[in-house]
Amino acid sequence: MHLDHHHDGPAAVSADAHRPDGTRRALRIGLGGPVGSGKTATVAALCRALREELSLAVVTNDIYTREDAEFLLREAVLPPERISAVETGACPHTAIRDDISANLEAVEDLEDEVGPLDLVLVESGGDNLTATFSKGLVDAQIFVIDVAGGDDIPRKGGPGVSTADLLVVNKTDLAPYVGSDLARMAADAKAQRGELPVVLQSLRSEDGVRDVADWVRARLAAWTA
């Protein structure tokens, strides 16, 4: 990363913290995790929690449809011009890690067209436990797993569970019904992650996304400091 290096020309070529006009770009936070763990629901809840206080936009990476983008549009969590869908050629992890160019363009186009933005959420398509975001694309990443996917996932670890800046264990309301042991999941996550934070959440409860929203606010405060 070239945090203080200005490139000539209209488009930044890497993770530059500044836009071509010299202003600070939006904070970019990635959300990854297995299929069905609640990434899109978390994005929707974050949009509702933060849209009054921040200028934000969302990039989705579906595997073969535009369903995630369309869900966000249908739920009307943001105006349509603030939601952009990237097509990933059947490989969502490639588009967020190995070849990030389409996602970078989507982020930059959103900043150009609806900016200035404070925050861009980049949602990965549902993938496996090894999917992580490139540091060239996002400044921080959230990995979302859920209790119904098996309470041994934190113990199994992997790059997403072990290294994400925030691990979210979603759907805690389902734990009694699927026989998942929340205390064990939390302890296993702690063992894998050391000091990195873990949030257990249920979006069914009132203000269920509060802890994640507070974490995002703290990242944003650090970014703009």
Binding site: H7, E87, D99, E105
Partner: protein
């Protein structure tokens, strides 16, 4: 000039967005025109000698320092399908980003200023080759080869085709790629002195109409 720079630019993992595109293979699979390795080979052969010959010549001409604006207009004129034009510009923009980060060069910066939303990919490819210290033949090789390797990779995903069979298809096409590249460089040299009108204008109507249909599908694996 570094030979290895050609390998960097030609590497299928060069991060310029190509992985999300099938080169028309997804539409051809759906239409039943690609079903196995032999039909993949025929598809790739047709693509190589039509659009592939055009893009290789454009890339070679750009590498020879022909005016990128004129070449971009020539590419537009040779691409009837709006969906394919949009895909070519999107890929050109993505390649521009990757090339500027990989081989910083004032010509690439100038191109980015002139085409902030992307020039046609072969035009950018030719300038990227220049920035990498490569020549017109190298640019044409990259263009012609990725024009067949992209669909082959995509069909491995789309049909669960045996990857060894798909790679063997590319190996069998190699001598034809050589000939297309030689023709592309020859005509590109003429285009530098006589103007871009001498560049080939071959087209594959099924690729054009297939791309238009593909762009309307609500569910698809590839962007084009």
């Amino acid at each position: 000039m570094s030979r290895a720079a050609l390998l960097v630019l030609a590497d299928g993992r060069f991060p310029a967005g190509g992985h999300a595109h099938s080169g028309g293979a997804e539409a051809a699979v759906r239409a039943g025109r690609i079903t196995d390795a032999p039909s993949l080979e025929e598809f790739c052969r047709g693509r190589l000698h039509t659009g592939g010959a055009v893009t290789a010549a454009l890339a070679a001409a750009a590498a020879l320092d022909a005016d990128p604006g004129e070449l971009d207009r020539a590419a537009d004129a040779r691409t009837p399908s709006p969906a394919l034009r949009a895909a070519a510009r999107r890929l050109g923009r993505q390649l521009m980003r990757a090339a500027r980060a990989t081989w910083p060069h004032p010509e690439l910066d100038a191109l980015a200023r002139r085409f902030p939303k992307g020039a046609h990919q072969p035009v950018v490819l030719g300038l990227a080759a220049r920035a990498a210290g490569l020549g017109p033949e190298d640019a044409a090789y990259c263009s012609a080869y990725e024009g067949v390797s992209g669909p082959a990779t995509a069909v491995v995903r789309l049909l669960s085709l045996d990857p060894f069979d798909a790679t063997a298809v590319l190996a069998r096409l190699a001598p034809e790629v050589d000939r297309v590249v030689q023709d592309a460089v020859d005509v590109a040299r003429r285009a530098v002195s006589e103007g871009p009108d001498v560049l080939p204008a071959r087209s594959a109507p099924l690729l054009e109409t297939g791309a238009e249909a593909h762009a309307t599908w609500p569910v698809r694996l590839f962007a084009s």
